[in-house]
């Protein structure tokens, strides 16, 4: 087979090996390969090199998974803990508010439903912010970020359980 026809076919070999060609182009390549050992060797090389690359990548991934990444490990462990904290904060607030609402009736100095909704949202947001800060707590490189996150929670959500927890954390530190 001539070098010229090999050059023409070379641009199609990867897509051929990956099964990405139209039936028409695929037929053209197959016809060339039937008479060209050099191009057949390249197609074999395409399959083999990808198979070997995958062995190297997979081995590297297995090694990477054996070594804990501090944030990853903490995040995985605390993922549900974070959600549970959000749910618990909301549950406590909703239960207390609804009991007050039922006992006093609407408009009798208890919080309005709109107020309850606002407070529920605040409890949820503050608890999520706290869970995020806790992911990084104890990592020296993130000390500043964690402190500013704590300040943010106390300043913006002062009446939430998360803010109360932050205050005790800060007091514990000093």
């Amino acid at each position: 087979m001539s070098d010229r026809s090999c050059e023409e076919i070379a641009g199609l070999l990867v897509d051929y090996a990956d099964g990405q060609l139209s039936p028409e182009d695929s037929g053209k390549v197959a016809e060339h390969l039937a008479g060209c050992a050099a191009c057949r060797a390249i197609v074999k090389g395409l399959h083999k090199s990808l198979e070997l690359s995958n062995i190297i990548w997979q081995d590297n991934l297995e090694q990477a998974q054996n070594l804990p990444i501090p944030i990853a490990q903490t995040a995985a462990k605390r993922h549900w803990a974070g959600y549970a904290a959000v749910a618990a904060a909301i549950l406590v607030f909703v239960t207390a508010s609804v009991v007050r609402y039922l006992v006093r009736g609407p408009g009798e100095h208890g919080p309005s439903l709109a107020e309850i909704e606002r407070r529920v949202i605040d409890e949820g947001t503050a608890a999520k912010l706290l869970a995020a800060a806790e992911l990084l707590a104890g990592k020296s490189y993130a000390n500043g970020l964690v402190k500013s996150q704590y300040r943010y929670i106390v300043d913006n959500y002062p009446h939430t359980q998360a803010a109360a927890k932050v205050k005790t954390l800060i007091q514990g530190d000093t």
């Binding site: 190297i56 990477a64 944030i71 749910a87 947001t125």
Partner: protein
């Protein structure tokens, strides 16, 4: 309350809080996205050939950068694209510093054969080691602009559109680079006298 329900409550709260307060909750959401996507980011870093210690360093850097930029993302998709792009760029830095694919073929094969129930005969093992070493060396020397699409496509299984977005290229450039990278690997394997 079941796990799914707790998750839904949390998501709903965050979404409503964001509607009301702008980006207040985005900092925590970003970390949520980061931890949910950590497996995928780790796969990218491993595919790019980083050692486990470098992989750890890179992902820590990315998480801290993510926290600092938390307010800038409009959507989860935005945030994901950003996390992936930054991870790839950090891995490319390590690749340029020749800190990738440093584990040699015999070590990889020893680990694999320890896990196999029927180990290969010695001659087969030697051929496999030679071939694997050629591919490892080629990946190590491959220019970053070819390595990144190769890993994202064949190891992370992204399509050329996804790769184009991450690498800020057009799709035909991505496909061209994929073909170039594959041909370099295939030719290196056939030229070095090893029967593929």
């Amino acid at each position: 309350m079941g796990a799914v329900c707790v998750d839904e409550v949390s998501k709903d709260c965050a979404a409503r809080a964001e509607q009301r307060t702008g980006h207040r909750a985005s900092q925590s959401n970003l970390l949520g996205v980061f931890s949910a996507e950590l497996g995928r980011l780790k796969r990218i870093a491993a595919g790019m050939g980083l050692s486990s210690a470098d992989c750890e360093d890179v992902l820590q850097d990315v998480s801290v950068q993510a926290l600092k930029r938390a307010a800038e993302f409009q959507s989860r998709a935005d945030c994901l694209r950003w996390l992936t792009t930054v991870t790839v760029n950090r891995c490319l830095m390590e690749h340029r510093r020749q800190r990738t694919f440093r584990r040699r073929a015999p070590e990889i094969l020893r680990r694999r054969s320890a896990a196999e129930t029927h180990p290969k005969p010695i001659e087969e093992w030697a051929i496999a080691a030679e071939e694997l070493e050629i591919v490892r060396e080629t990946l190590r020397q491959l220019d970053g602009h070819l390595l990144a699409p190769m890993v994202l496509s064949y190891f992370c299984e992204l399509d050329s559109r996804g790769i184009a977005e991450i690498l800020n290229l057009n799709q035909s450039t991505v496909r061209g680079r994929l073909r170039e990278a594959r041909m370099i690997l295939a030719r290196r394997l056939t030229q070095r006298g090893v029967e593929p």
